[in-house]
Symmetry: C2
Subunit: 341 residues, 2 copies
């Protein structure tokens, strides 16, 4: 098995820097668009054969060192009693946003091995198909990011409703995040049981918080999830965007790898995270739109900052954009590998 | 005249910390909504009597130490040949986005003293009405932020088209930004001539760039504007959001005051900016939604970080949100003043 990714998570030396890409399965691939032409995003997530097929598409075409489960951060919301859908061109839309103590009280804890069995079936299917080629990464959303969707009702810029609830009804906020933390812990443990070999916790929007607020409102809940999962022995990657001022606090939340975006230089980030942890990132995804020489130049700068030290996993600072040419993603993976560790 | 704001810009001691708020004239005030019920945003911007009235509304109701011209960042786009409008609930919409060398070539330089005479008339009117009560701040958008609107056609999350043009056609990008830099320099000088006593350059979305890209694609153009304006002797405030990793580079661009958002602690920010410059900020605007004790607690933390050192201008990290209760804004201004310098 290609274990460079798992070795890097554990800070062990590798022959070359492992690489995978957030949203490596997605609209930038014609194979994916062909499936999306016949199925909605949620249909793909909920049908193990389709989700497994999509998960494997980039592994078959791009020289990545890990597969990541094709799924969506929001899946746990539905069995909790927060139904949602994806509105064409507008992203997720929550039918009845969570905005009061009553809304939080109404949430129903669930057993992921039942309600999200389709995800676990996907994992088993992918593991079988991968047959040890590369490890499989599972994932879930962190409480702040999940709460922001549940409260805003979809994507947001200012997170005014989210922070409004946080500030004005902190007990309601904490109860909501505790619920998410319990559900996400169970869900990640179920994914691990089903066969994922690492997990990534996406706190994609947590960069909207000041350090002070992160410590009070997000850190304890994320910490709880990471502790719950840590006992399983699989590496935990903790990722967010716009987190330049949060790195120390995010590191305190635990985990083996901290994922950073392009706004912070990788060497600076790593120093602040501490060299006893691995680091993942951090090329600006827009660089993959081309031209190729700029993309490679950016990748080279990151590899130079990592300095060949064991524990760097090459990735982007956020997901691959739909407009990205597949050839550029292929060229980037090739470049990272060819350069050696 | 209340000159605490201008004194703080020049790092001179003041009896209390000066305070003003980005978007202090706006939808959170009933007086403003009453005018907006009868006029569009652009009508208000283009009619000096209306724009002056709106500029003065917060000065009459909130204990601020400066007025800021009511206007919009995008006004210079129209005379350049990039017409736009505001679409209800969706923000600005550019009719024909700028995406090619030809589009940039077609832009027409203009004389702000003619094309934007209504803004200058507003300034003269406001100065007369203020009659020395507090100084008046003028403003304009910085090249990166203006370019992002012109290229995307409106607001954006990933700035894929903006960065796409930047990376793939750097000469076109630089030509576009040079045009913006010239126009904005002229425009700010005309505002100063008309009577503004300080100017703020808004690079609101520049936090989307890595430090590397900021230095290559944004810094030289912003620097050019600030140098052009510096000779006039009025203080220049340079502001952006999500700039935690850009502060050193933004400081190099010049200016007297650097405005920072809530993601970075004010003391850390000031240290990095250098104590030979003033600093403006940086309360999270969502804290103004309440409860008041949390808002004041956040303000207190900022004032403590500033440590009473001359050169701190209290402000938010971004504009006042429309949902904000006026009483909270009043209470905040009062609190900052009552606490002494």
């Amino acid at each position: 098995m290609n274990d460079t990714f798992l070795r890097a998570c554990r800070l062990e030396p590798t022959d070359s820097t492992p690489v995978w890409f957030m949203r490596q399965a997605g609209r930038y691939m014609s194979e994916y668009r062909a499936i999306r032409a016949r199925h909605t995003l949620l249909e793909i997530c909920r049908q193990p054969e389709l989700a497994a097929e999509v998960t494997l598409q980039p592994v078959n075409r791009i020289d990545v060192d890990a597969a990541i489960l094709f799924s969506d951060l929001l899946l746990p919301l539905d069995p909790l009693g927060i139904p949602f859908d994806f509105v064409k061109g507008e992203g997720p839309a929550i039918e009845r946003p969570v905005r009061s103590a009553d809304d939080v009280r109404r949430l129903t804890r669930f057993e992921p091995r039942e309600a999200l069995e389709h995800v676990l079936a996907t994992i088993r299917l992918v593991r079988r198909e991968l047959d040890g080629r590369v490890p499989l990464i599972g994932f879930a959303g962190a409480p702040f990011t999940l709460a922001s969707y549940a409260i805003e009702g979809g994507a947001s810029r200012a997170y005014a409703l989210t922070k409004g609830l946080m500030y004005s009804e902190p007990e309601v906020w904490h109860r909501l995040c505790e619920t998410f933390a319990e559900v996400v812990s169970d869900y990640l443990l179920a994914q691990i049981e089903a066969g994922v070999q690492a997990v990534q916790l996406f706190d994609s929007w947590v960069g909207a918080l000041s350090v002070r607020d992160y410590r009070e409102f997000a850190l304890p809940h994320t910490q709880r999830i990471i502790s719950a999962v840590a006992g399983s022995g699989v590496p935990v990657i903790h990722f967010g965007t716009g987190t330049a001022t949060l790195l120390e606090a995010m590191t305190e939340a635990g985990g083996d790898v901290v994922g950073v975006d392009w706004r912070v230089a990788l060497d600076e980030a790593w120093e602040r995270i501490g060299t006893d942890k691995a680091v993942q990132g951090n090329l600006d995804p827009t660089l993959l739109l081309g031209p190729v020489h700029r993309m490679l130049d950016g990748a080279e700068a990151i590899l130079r900052q990592a300095g060949g030290r064991p524990g760097h996993i090459f990735n982007l600072g956020h997901g691959i954009l739909p407009e990205t040419p597949v050839e550029n993603v292929q060229a980037l993976a090739h470049f990272v590998h060819a350069r050696g560790a």
